[in-house]
């Protein structure tokens, strides 16, 4: 490998192009079920281990085997981790999409492809690196059955040679992937080596893209949002987990099962300090969560759009009967079945007001894996403090993709269990009124079922009730109760996670976003400043109800762009409800809803075109 550098330099000189270092996207196009996941993960990790900021997006079909899938890896020396529309390197392994994928490349890009696909004839402005995958895999993998799985590792080796990835890092990443399975490590590494050697022997480097070591990932971790949320739930002390499988949320509970089995078995008795049940449907999952929350447990479920729709009736019950619950909504593309494996922020309005009658719910909007962890813990505290369902609004992009992050900090605060009266409290008070606003914050006191005192019990119902939890159809009781619930929501406004605000130079243009849209906006802010001298202010929403600072931010800007991943400007609509008429007029939209993660160019483009009309 020592000679690589010199040869590469030589090649570069002959190509006469200026070198592009640590700023490229690699798109790997495969067929799902072909075992490309290992090769792609290893590639991602190897770049990460070289200290280069990296991100990955897996675009996969709603299918088990045989349909096209794309895996995009972006390396960015500036640390940008949003999706980029263009790729500099295409690895074309899927005969069905190869031509289309190739034609989408911009001039000057490079294409590594399965020789049999004969792509060279299609373009003359792309650098081609044909690889005879089948010929290369046979000698390194004598077992024909395994070849399909190992074959993909060859492109890791080819890319390592072409881009300058250290093979040692490929080896380290494989060890991480297969842990103690030394045979699997060797087999896959030999395939990668075969690819490397073939590229070394065969190709003249004719593209300008390189990866070089940096020191920007030291100490960082790589994790997907669903696993991060699962970790958060475990450290939030969750005890009851009810779920029904649905993409893209299933991996949250599956990860949680793994963590809980490892760390939440009582060492003395060998028994579980948790109950995790795969329910018969989402109706049952939320019912079980509410039953458990009512009985005092920290209970959660995780689902996506169709599940949220099914849970509507019960969530209204949770709101009105005031029962804590944490519900993860890993948003995917709707309506209906929609695009089950594509990302969206399309459930904002339906979740905010889920269920019939006057209902509104607390929602948290994590943008990163760190926030999936920390907001999980906050969600459980808020649910018990406010005795209400709390939604953690993730999306497929955050939940199912791998993201680099700083290690998560251990929670600083003890569990906040909310207003629960103990046996001693009841003895001292002689009784209590479940729905009475004793403290003026709209939050009543509750007792937990099983409290051994005749005055501790009460009747919880979704029908009309008075302060003492007794059935009532009296107009005054109803209004009194509903107004208190509204007061409770107002209290929450200042207790939920604050927005993150970054001031611009002049208060002319403001941008508002939330969740994963944040990463494209961050990059867009730089594009607007560097390329157009626009210094916009930025407010990242982290929760609903909106903190008063959000309205202040809108007030002090002339035009405010709400960036989100849905068709109907759902967050903008929600903001409008909190704003005076002159505030409403300031709001504009940047919308993206094709199911792919948002990219910065789309944000900048939509803002610039609207500014031009100004």
């Amino acid at each position: 490998m020592a000679t690589t550098h010199a040869e590469v330099k030589e090649a570069e000189a002959s190509a006469g192009q200026s070198r592009v270092t640590n700023d490229l996207s690699i798109q790997v196009a495969t067929v799902n079920g072909s075992g490309s996941q290992t090769a792609n993960t290893v590639l991602l990790r190897a770049i990460f281990q070289m200290g280069i900021p990296v991100s990955a997006k897996n675009l996969f079909p709603s299918n088990i085997a045989g349909l096209p899938t794309w895996f995009t890896i972006r390396a960015s020396r500036q640390g940008y981790i949003a999706r980029r529309k263009d790729s500099e390197f295409l690895v074309a392994m899927n005969p069905e999409t190869a031509e289309e994928d190739l034609l989408a490349l911009k001039p000057g890009a490079a294409c590594v492809y399965d020789e049999r696909l004969n792509l060279k004839r299609l373009r003359n402005d792309v650098v081609f690196y044909p690889v005879p995958f089948d010929q290369l895999v046979a000698p390194v993998c004598p077992d024909a059955r395994l070849r399909k799985l190992v074959r993909n590792m060859i492109y890791d080796g080819v890319l390592a040679r072409l881009l300058g990835i250290d093979m040692q890092e490929i080896h380290t990443a494989l060890r991480k992937q297969f842990k103690k399975k030394a045979k699997a490590v060797d087999l896959n590494f030999h395939a990668a080596q075969a690819g490397y050697e073939y590229a070394e022997k065969t190709f003249q480097k004719a593209d300008p893209y390189y990866l070089e070591r940096m020191d920007a990932t030291r100490g960082k971790i790589i994790i997907d949002g669903n696993s991060a949320a699962a970790l958060g739930a475990m450290f939030a002390g969750v005890t009851v987990v009810m779920w029904y499988p649905i993409t893209p949320s299933s991996t949250l509970c599956e990860a949680l099962i793994g963590y809980m089995k490892r760390y939440r078995i009582d060492p003395e008795t060998g028994k579980a300090t948790f109950a995790i049940v795969q329910a018969e449907d989402e109706l049952a999952a939320i019912g079980m969560v509410l039953g458990a929350g009512w009985a005092g447990a920290r209970a959660m479920t995780s689902t996506s759009g169709p599940g949220i729709s099914l849970m509507a009736e019960f969530v209204g019950f949770g709101y009105y009967a005031e029962i804590p619950a944490v519900i993860y909504n890993i948003q995917r593309v709707g309506p209906s079945t929609g695009l089950p494996t594509r990302t969206s922020q399309g459930d904002i309005l339906s979740t905010a007001f889920l269920s019939h009658g006057d209902t509104k719910h607390l929602m948290l909007f994590p943008c990163s894996v760190e926030e999936c962890f920390s907001m999980s813990i906050e969600a459980f505290d808020l649910a018990e403090e406010f005795q209400t369902p709390v939604f953690v609004m993730c999306d497929l992009d955050l939940g199912m993709n791998n993201w680099m992050a700083d290690p998560f900090p251990y929670p600083a605060k003890p569990l906040g269990r909310g207003k629960v009266l103990s046996l001693e409290d009841i003895k001292r008070l002689g009784g209590f009124a479940r729905y009475k606003d004793v403290d003026g914050d709209g939050i009543g006191y509750r007792t937990l079922p099983g409290t051994p005192h005749p005055a501790a019990g009460y009747f919880t119902r979704g029908s009309g009730h008075n302060e003492k939890a007794i059935y009532s159809e009296r107009p005054n009781d109803y209004v009194h109760n509903l107004d208190r619930l509204a007061r409770k929501f107002e209290t929450a406004r200042r207790k939920v996670p604050m927005p993150v605000i970054q001031e611009g130079k002049a208060h002319e243009i403001g941008i508002i976003s939330y969740g994963t849209s944040h990463w494209a906006v961050l990059e867009s802010l730089d594009q607007l400043r560097q390329e157009h001298d626009i210094e916009a202010g930025y407010c990242r929403l982290r929760a609903y109800p909106f903190h008063p600072q959000v309205c202040d931010f809108i007030r002090r800007h002339q035009r405010v762009y709400v960036v989100e991943q849905n068709r109907d400007a759902q967050m903008r609509s929600l903001l409008k409800l909190d704003l005076p008429a002159d505030g409403v007029k300031k709001l504009r939209s940047v919308l993206h809803y094709d199911g792919l993660p948002l990219d910065a160019r789309s944000v900048s483009g939509q803002i610039l075109s609207q500014e031009a009309e100004n």
Binding site: F235, L283, E313, P407, Y458
Partner: protein, 349 residues
């Protein structure tokens, strides 16, 4: 919480906890006078009193409908939760998993169970979670003024003359087939049998399913209905004479080993089934299902304990839960220490 009662006779009669019957009563019923559901509430009060159930340990759970209103009319100092239509089983499951020391007493109706709630019903039966599930079964939607439910018998008539042309769902057969471990049918008018079956269910560790035929005096107590008082009285075929001896009492003298099946419950109490017409083995699942099918074909309403399995693991055992309620485990047992997070972070580097 109010427990309006008649003044106790003196000296007050108390149960083994020192509680009077009054401690087990609830609010005044708002159901129709003569409603079979009220008789069931009375039997629940007696059963809990006689068994010495601690009211605070009881979680009264229900869905929606006339039946689901009834938990307000017994055990006033217990905890209650009136959920949404057909979804009591899931709430019961969550509550029991959160606090395994609770005694979940679910009351449902035939509409709440056999129509809108059938999905949750069958899965509760499968799991064999310790829940006492009572169906107050009148074959009709009372609260929406008299539409057929899915337990209405084929050919039975509504007051309006409408004839039911679909076969009935037999909730007992379904429960047995799916894995409930204590399955019985009774009649709200049969005080002795219903009380004994309720007490047996309270002593059982697993899912107890009691389908109690409970005539609706307003919408379904007329000629042509197969769930009217007169019809059920004429067609009721008790399987056995049921009596129950709690673990804290000696078995009484009329025990006759030759003619009585003795079932020992988890807590050491005894359910005694004195043979009537048939020689019936309530631990045989296949026989139970055969009996239900045959009696249905004959147009008989068999009542009694159809099936019991005191050996089957409950869902709590299956989940290997700690002995204490999950709901109140201290932070030290539910939030792993910092070194666990450090270890996990190290693995993800």
């Amino acid at each position: 919480m109010a427990t309006p009662t008649v003044p106790p006779a003196s000296p007050a009669k108390v149960n083994r906890l020192g509680l009077e019957m009054a401690s087990y009563k609830g609010n005044r019923s708002t159901l129709c006078a003569g409603c079979g559901h009220n008789a069931i509430s009375e039997r629940i009060i007696e059963a809990c009193y006689e068994m010495g159930v601690e009211p605070h340990r009881v979680a009264k759970l229900s869905g929606i409908g006339c039946s689901s209103k009834s938990p307000a009319y017994f055990l006033g100092s217990a905890y209650g939760l009136n959920a949404v239509h057909g979804r009591m089983p899931s709430v019961a499951t969550g509550a029991v998993l959160a606090n395994r020391q609770l005694l979940a007493l679910g009351v449902s109706g035939d509409g709440d169970t056999a129509s809108i709630g059938i999905g949750q019903f069958v899965h509760l039966m499968r799991r064999n979670l310790p829940v006492l599930y009572i169906i107050e079964d009148n074959g009709v939607y009372g609260l929406t003024k008299g539409q057929f439910s899915a337990t209405a018998d084929l050919g039975s008539k509504l007051k309006t003359g409408v004839v039911n042309d679909l076969p009935a769902i037999d909730t007992c057969a379904l429960a047995i087939q799916l894995g409930a471990s204590y399955v019985a049918r009774s009649f709200s008018g049969d005080k002795k049998q219903l009380l004994a079956l309720l007490k047996g269910a309270l002593a059982h560790h697993g899912t107890s399913m009691l389908d109690v035929i409970s005539p609706c005096v307003t919408f379904n107590d007329h000629e042509g209905s197969t769930k009217s008082y007169s019809y059920v009285k004429d067609h009721d075929e008790p399987l056995a004479d049921v009596s129950f001896v709690p673990f804290f009492e000696e078995i009484s003298v009329d025990y006759d080993p030759g003619s009585t099946t003795d079932i020992t419950m988890h807590d050491g109490s005894h359910l005694l089934l004195k043979k009537l017409a048939t020689d019936y083995d309530p631990t045989n699942k296949t026989e139970a299902l055969r009996l239900l099918t045959e009696s249905h074909d004959k147009g008989e309403i068999i009542t009694g304990l159809f099936y019991v399995d005191t050996k089957r693991e409950s869902f709590l055992d299956l989940l290997n839960l700690v002995d204490e309620p999950l709901a109140t485990l201290p932070e030290s047992r539910v939030r792993p220490p910092k070194q666990v997070l450090d270890e996990l972070m190290e693995e993800l580097r």
